[in-house]
Amino acid sequence: MTNLLNTTPGIADTRPAAASTKTVAVRARGLVKTYGSGPAAVKALDGADLVIHTGTFTAIMGPSGSGKSTLMHALAGLDVLDAGQVHIGDTDVTGLGERQRTLLRRDRFGFVFQSFNLLPALTAQENITLPLDLAGRRADPDWLARLVDTLGLRDRLGHRPSELSGGQQQRVAVARALVTRPEIVFADEPTGNLDTRHGQVLLSFLRDACDDLGQTIVMVTHDPLAAAHADRVVLLTDGRVIEEITDPTASAIADRMLQLDTDQHPNPHPRAGSGFGSGSGSIQEG
C-alpha cells in the first residue's frame, strides 16, 4: 500500500500546491498559553515561534509537558491563546470567534487523533464524509474513490467502526482528514494506538500524501521512528521551540531526545500528560 499514491498520478493533477513552492502555510509568533492561575498555574506555551511551509511534513516533538500538543491545538484553532499570533495563510486565527474557528476547522483543516475518534453510529463511509456533510457539501466522487482505494477501505465502507480493526479505523480517520482537501492536516500521535506495522503503513501514507499531493502535514509525536518520516522535526521544551532538525533520521532524533530527557531529569516530577489533560473530568462532575 505504501506506493499506491505513486501509481495514481491523477490525484497529483487535482492538487494546486506543489512541494517545491515555499509559500508559508502557518506562521506563529510569541505564543503564550497558561493553564490555571496563581501558584498552580502551568505555562504550556511560553513564547513559541514557528513557521511551516506549504507542502511540508513537520513533526513536533518534545518531552512530556513541553507543550507540543498545546502548540498544535493553538495552530489548529482548537485552543485560544493568551498571547501571540497565528496566521493560517492570510487568516489571523487569533482574531477569530468561536464559530469562525469551527468553520476554519471544517473547511481548511483535517484532523487525525490518537484514539481514532470515529462516530460509532456512522458507517466508515459516513465517518469519512462527516466534515462535508456538516458543511452541507457533497464529496467529489473521484477524490473520495481515490482516497478509499488508496487507503484500502473499499470493501469496508458499509461497516461501523466496531467492525473495523484499529489500523482500518485509523485509515478511515485519515480519509476523513483528507476528504475536504484541507490546507493542513493536523495529526496528534496518529500511531499512538497502532502496532508498529500498522503505524509504519500509516506514516508512509502521510509521507506520500506530502510528496505526491503537496499536502501540508503537522504531526505531534513522541516516537522518533514516526518523526523520521517528516521533512523537519521541531523540538519543544518548556513551551518554547529550542531546535529544529531537517531531514531527520530516527537515530538522530532519538539521540537528541535522550539528551533533552537527561537535561530534564533533575525535575523529579515531570508533569504527566501536558496541559490539555488538566481539564478532563471537569465535565464528568457536572
Binding site: H73, D79, R106, L119, P120, A121, F276, S282, G286
Partner: protein, 847 residues
C-alpha cells in the same frame, strides 16, 4: 460502607437532581392527597362527634339503614310528647327535644351559601355550641348564629337575617356562638332558634327530629339505652350519641373515599412514570461508572457489596425525596383543594392534619419506589467483572437477556391485547383491567425494542420532509444506540400521554351519551335545578309551589331521587309524576307505560337491561329495601328503553305517590317545565327567574343548557384529572431532559470530535433538540395509540350494548399533541445548551 454510599450520592448529586425532583413530585402528590383527606376527615369528626359531648343517648325514628352513598337518610319526625315521656323514665336526667334541618341564611338580601351545610337547629345548650356574645334564642323571632359567619358577613347583634327553609322568616340576631375553641364549623353556617321557630321553618308541626338524652349521674349509658329500647319499642332508634355521631361522620367520610382513591390512583401513575426516570438514571450511572465499579471489584468488593452500595444510593435519594415531598405535600394539599373546588368537588377545610401514617407512607413510597426502580441497575452493577477495569469502552449489552426481554414483552403484550379484546367483546371490566395492566407491562418490557424503532421511523419521516441533515441523522442514531434508555424515556411519556388520552376519550364519550340521551328524551322547554349539585337534588318544596302559581307555566313535572338497598348494594331510583310526565318527556317503553305507575298501586318501571339481568318481567316482584319502611315487594309494571332511562338518571322509576310512602325526603331534584299555551319560552323563563329570585341556589335553564349542565360535574372532574395528569407529563419531560443530560455526559468525547471536525454549536444544539423532539413524538405516537385503543375497548364495555359511542375529542388530542411537542422542545433546551457549551479540547480528551 454508609459513608461511601453518602459520598457517592453527593458526588453524583448533579446527575441525581432530576431524579430527586421526580421522586419529590410523586411523594408530594401522595402526601398532598393524604393531608387533604385527613384534614377533611378531621373536620367531619369535629362536626359530628364534638357536637354531642354532653349528650349521652340519641333517640330518633327507626330506619332500615342510616346512610347511602355518603349521605344520611332523612328520618320521619318523632312526636314531641315522646320527649316528655322519655324524661320521666328511670335513669334519664334530661330528655331534650331537638329539631334539625337545613336553613339558608340571607343577610341584606344576599344569600350566604357555604361550601358545606347550612345548619338550622333548635337551641339545646348541650350540643357543643357555646355563647360568645348575647343570649340564647327565646322569642319566636330570635336567632343565634356562629361567630365565624357573623364576622365574615359583617353581621352584629341586633341585625336581622332571613332564614329560608321549607318556609322562611326574618329573625333578629340575639347571640353569637362558637364551637369548642373555634368560631364555628368549617364550611358551614349555623342558625340556632327556639324549638317552635325551627318547627315552623321546617314545617314539622309539633314533630321533632330527635330526643337528646342526658343520663342521670351514676348510671351507665348502655344500661339506660337498653332500658329505653325496652320501654319505647322498635319504632324508634336508641343509640349512644357517640355512635350516631361516628356513624354520621363515617357517612360523610365515605364520600371522601372516592376522592382519596382517585387522587391516590393519579399519584400512583405519577410514581410509576417517575420510576422510569429513576431506573434510567441509575442505569446510566452504572454504565458510566463501569470502570470505577470494576476497580472496586478488583480491590476486593463482592458483587453483593457493589449492589448494596448502588441500592444504598437509591435509598438515600428516596429518603431525601420523601422528606422534600412531605414538605411540598403540605403545600400541595392546598393546591389540590383549590383544584377540587374548581372541579365542583368541595371538601371541607380545617386545620391541617399531618398524621404519622402520612409520614410513614411518604417515606415508604419514596424509598420503595426508588429501590425498585434502581434494582435492575444495581443487579447489573453487581455483574461488573474486575477485568473491565482494564478494558477500554463501556459495558456491552447482553444480547441473550434482550431476547428474553423481547419474548416476555411480546407474550405480555399479546396477552394484554387478547384480554382487552375479550373484555371489550364480553363487556367484562375485570378482563379489561387485567388486559390493560398486561399491555402496559408488555410495552414496558418491549420498550427498548419498540421505542428506538419508532424513533428511527419518525426520524426517517422527518428527514424525508426536511431533507437530509447530519445533526438530525445523528440524533436519530443516538436515540437508537441506547435502546434501553430511549425506551424507558419514550414509555414514560407515552404512558402519561396515554392516560390523558384515555381520560379525554372516555370522558368525551360519556359526555356525548349523557347529552344525547337527554336531548332525545326530555321535551320540557325549561328545567329548574339546584346549582349546588346535591346528590338527591336541592329544590325545597317551596320552589315548586312558587312555579305552579305562575300563569306563564303550563306543566310542572318534578323528578326526585332516592336510595334503596338491593340485597346489600345501594341503588338509586327516580320518582316521577305519572300524570304529567308524558307532557315533558318522550321515552320509549319496551312494555307497559309510565302512566301504569299511576293507578294508586305501588309499582316500579325498570330498564330492559335490568329486566334481563334479573330475569324479571312485568308482573314479577322486586324486593326493594327503603330506609323508612324496610323491605317492600314491589311489582314490576313496565320496562323502559335503556337509553331513555339515562335521561331520567336511574334504572328504576316509581311514582311520586309511592315515593312519599317510602321516603321521608321531600326535596325535588329537577322540575321539568312547559310554558302555558300562548307564552313564549323567553316570557316563561323570565317569569320563572323573577319568581325564584329569592332562591339563589335555584337555576332556571333552557333545554340545551340543562343538557350541558348534566355534564358540568363530569367536566369538572375530567378537567381536574387532566390537570393532575399533566403533572405526570411534566415528570416525563424531566425524564427526557434527564436522559439527554446523562447521554451528553456519556457522549462527551463524541461531541468533542464532532466539534473538532467542524460541527458548529448551532448544529450541535439542533442535534440534541432533534433527539428530544424525536423521543417526544415517539411518546406521542405510542401514547395516543395505547390510549385510544384501551379507551375504545373500555367505552364499549361501559356501554354494555347501550347508546354509548366512541367519541375521539379533537381538542383533547390536540392538547395531548401540543403537550408532547412542548415536552419535546422544552425538554431538550437545557441539555442542548449544555452540550453546546462543551469545550472541544476537554471533550475530546474525556475518557
Amino acid at each position: 460502607m454508609l459513608r461511601l454510599v453518602l459520598k457517592q450520592t453527593l458526588a453524583h448529586r448533579g446527575r441525581l437532581l432530576l431524579t430527586f425532583a421526580a421522586i419529590t413530585l410523586g411523594v408530594t402528590f401522595v402526601v398532598g392527597t393524604l393531608v387533604l383527606t385527613d384534614t377533611s376527615r378531621e373536620v367531619f369528626d369535629d362536626q359530628f362527634c364534638d357536637a354531642s359531648t354532653e349528650v349521652d343517648i340519641v333517640i330518633r325514628d327507626a330506619v332500615a339503614f342510616d346512610a347511602a352513598m355518603g349521605i344520611e337518610v332523612e328520618r320521619d319526625p318523632l312526636n314531641s310528647r315522646l320527649a316528655a315521656h322519655t324524661a320521666t323514665l328511670p335513669g334519664v336526667s334530661r330528655a331534650i327535644p331537638v329539631v334539625k334541618g337545613t336553613g339558608l341564611l340571607i343577610a341584606d338580601g344576599e344569600a350566604i351559601v357555604p361550601a358545606g351545610p347550612s345548619m338550622l337547629t333548635s337551641w339545646t345548650g348541650v350540643d357543643g355550641f357555646t355563647l360568645r356574645d348575647g343570649h340564647a334564642p327565646e322569642q319566636l323571632d330570635e336567632v343565634v348564629i356562629d361567630a365565624a359567619t357573623a364576622t365574615a358577613h359583617d353581621i352584629t347583634l341586633g341585625d336581622t337575617v332571613r332564614v329560608q327553609a321549607d318556609s322562611e322568616a326574618d329573625l333578629r340576631v340575639v347571640g353569637l356562638v362558637g364551637f369548642g375553641d373555634a368560631d364555628g364549623l368549617p364550611d358551614t353556617t349555623v342558625a340556632l332558634t327556639s324549638l317552635a321557630t325551627a318547627q315552623r321553618l321546617l314545617r314539622l308541626g309539633d314533630g321533632i327530629s330527635q330526643i337528646s338524652v342526658i343520663a342521670a349521674d351514676g348510671t351507665a349509658t348502655s344500661e339506660v339505652a337498653d332500658r329505653l329500647r325496652a320501654e319505647l319499642g322498635t319504632d324508634v332508634d336508641v343509640a349512644a350519641s357517640q355512635d350516631t355521631a361516628a356513624a354520621s361522620a363515617a357517612a360523610a367520610k365515605s364520600q371522601l373515599g372516592f376522592i382519596t382513591g382517585a387522587l391516590l390512583a393519579l399519584a400512583g401513575a405519577a410514581l410509576v412514570i417517575g420510576a422510569f426516570l429513576i431506573a434510567n438514571t441509575f442505569s446510566v450511572l452504572v454504565t458510566q461508572r463501569t470502570r470505577e465499579l470494576a476497580v472496586m471489584r478488583a480491590a476486593g468488593a463482592t458483587g453483593r457489596q457493589v449492589m448494596t452500595s448502588i441500592l444504598g444510593e437509591a435509598a438515600v435519594l428516596g429518603i431525601a425525596g420523601a422528606v422534600a415531598g412531605t414538605g411540598a405535600g403540605l403545600v400541595a394539599a392546598t393546591g389540590l383543594r383549590a383544584l377540587l373546588d374548581a372541579a365542583g368537588a368541595t371538601v371541607p377545610d380545617g386545620p391541617t392534619v399531618l398524621s404519622a401514617r402520612t409520614l410513614v407512607v411518604a417515606l415508604a413510597v419514596g424509598v420503595v419506589v426508588t429501590l425498585i426502580a434502581a434494582f435492575g441497575a444495581a443487579r447489573r452493577a453487581a455483574r461488573v467483572s474486575p477485568v473491565m477495569a482494564m478494558r477500554e469502552g463501556a459495558l456491552g449489552t447482553a444480547g441473550g437477556r434482550g431476547r428474553i426481554r423481547a419474548g416476555v414483552g411480546l407474550t405480555l403484550t399479546a396477552a394484554g391485547v387478547a384480554a382487552l379484546s375479550v373484555g371489550g367483546a364480553t363487556e367484562s371490566m375485570p378482563a379489561l383491567g387485567a388486559g390493560t395492566a398486561a399491555l402496559v407491562a408488555g410495552l414496558v418490557a418491549l420498550a427498548p425494542v419498540v421505542a428506538p424503532a419508532v424513533v428511527h421511523l419518525i426520524g426517517r419521516g422527518l428527514s424525508a420532509v426536511t431533507g437530509r441533515s447530519v445533526p438530525a441523522g445523528l440524533a436519530r442514531e443516538a436515540a437508537r444506540r441506547a435502546p434501553r434508555r430511549t425506551g424507558a424515556t419514550v414509555m414514560a411519556l407515552a404512558l402519561s400521554l396515554a392516560l390523558v388520552v384515555f381520560v379525554s376519550v372516555v370522558g368525551a364519550s360519556v359526555r356525548a351519551a349523557l347529552q344525547s340521551g337527554f336531548d332525545e328524551a326530555i321535551t320540557a322547554e325549561l328545567v329548574v335545578e339546584s346549582a349546588r349539585g346535591e346528590m338527591l337534588g336541592g329544590l325545597e318544596p317551596a320552589t315548586r309551589e312558587k312555579i305552579e302559581e305562575l300563569d306563564e307555566v303550563g306543566t310542572v313535572s318534578p323528578l326526585r331521587f332516592g336510595h334503596w338497598k338491593d340485597s346489600g348494594a345501594t341503588r338509586a331510583l327516580t320518582a316521577l309524576d305519572p300524570a304529567t310526565i308524558d307532557d315533558v318527556t318522550h321515552v320509549d317503553m319496551v312494555e307497559g307505560s309510565l302512566t301504569d305507575l299511576s293507578d294508586g298501586r305501588d309499582g316500579v318501571v325498570i330498564t330492559e337491561r335490568q329486566a334481563v339481568e334479573r330475569g324479571r318481567d312485568v308482573g314479577d316482584r322486586l324486593a326493594m329495601t327503603f330506609a323508612r319502611t324496610g323491605t317492600v315487594q314491589v311489582p314490576v309494571v313496565g320496562l323502559i328503553d335503556d337509553d331513555d332511562a339515562k335521561a331520567l338518571s336511574t334504572d328504576y322509576l316509581v311514582s311520586l305517590a309511592s315515593y312519599r310512602d317510602w321516603f321521608t325526603e321531600r326535596v325535588d331534584a329537577t322540575l321539568l317545565v312547559r310554558p302555558s299555551s300562548g307564552t313564549t319560552l323567553d316570557q316563561a323563563q323570565t317569569a320563572l327567574e323573577d319568581a325564584l329570585e329569592g332562591m339563589p341556589t335555584v337555576e332556571v335553564r333552557d333545554q340545551a343548557s340543562a343538557a350541558e349542565a348534566r355534564t358540568a360535574s363530569l367536566d369538572g372532574i375530567l378537567t381536574l384529572i387532566t390537570a393532575v395528569l399533566m403533572l405526570t407529563v411534566l415528570i416525563a419531560m424531566l425524564g427526557i431532559t434527564n436522559t439527554l443530560a446523562l447521554s451528553i455526559i456519556e457522549r462527551t468525547r463524541e461531541l468533542g470530535l464532532l466539534r473538532a471536525v467542524g460541527m458548529t454549536r448551532r448544529q450541535l444544539r439542533t442535534m440534541i433538540r432533534t433527539e428530544s423532539l424525536l423521543i417526544a413524538v415517539a411518546g406521542l405516537l405510542v401514547g395516543t395509540t395505547v390510549g385510544v385503543a384501551t379507551s375504545a375497548l373500555f367505552v364499549r364495555a361501559i356501554a354494555q350494548g347501550g347508546d354509548l359511542h366512541l367519541q375521539i375529542p379533537t381538542t383533547g388530542l390536540a392538547l395531548v399533541a401540543a403537550a408532547a411537542l412542548v415536552v419535546g422542545i422544552v425538554g431538550g433546551l437545557a441539555p442542548a445548551r449544555r452540550a453546546a457549551r462543551l469545550e472541544v479540547l476537554t471533550a475530546i480528551h474525556e475518557q
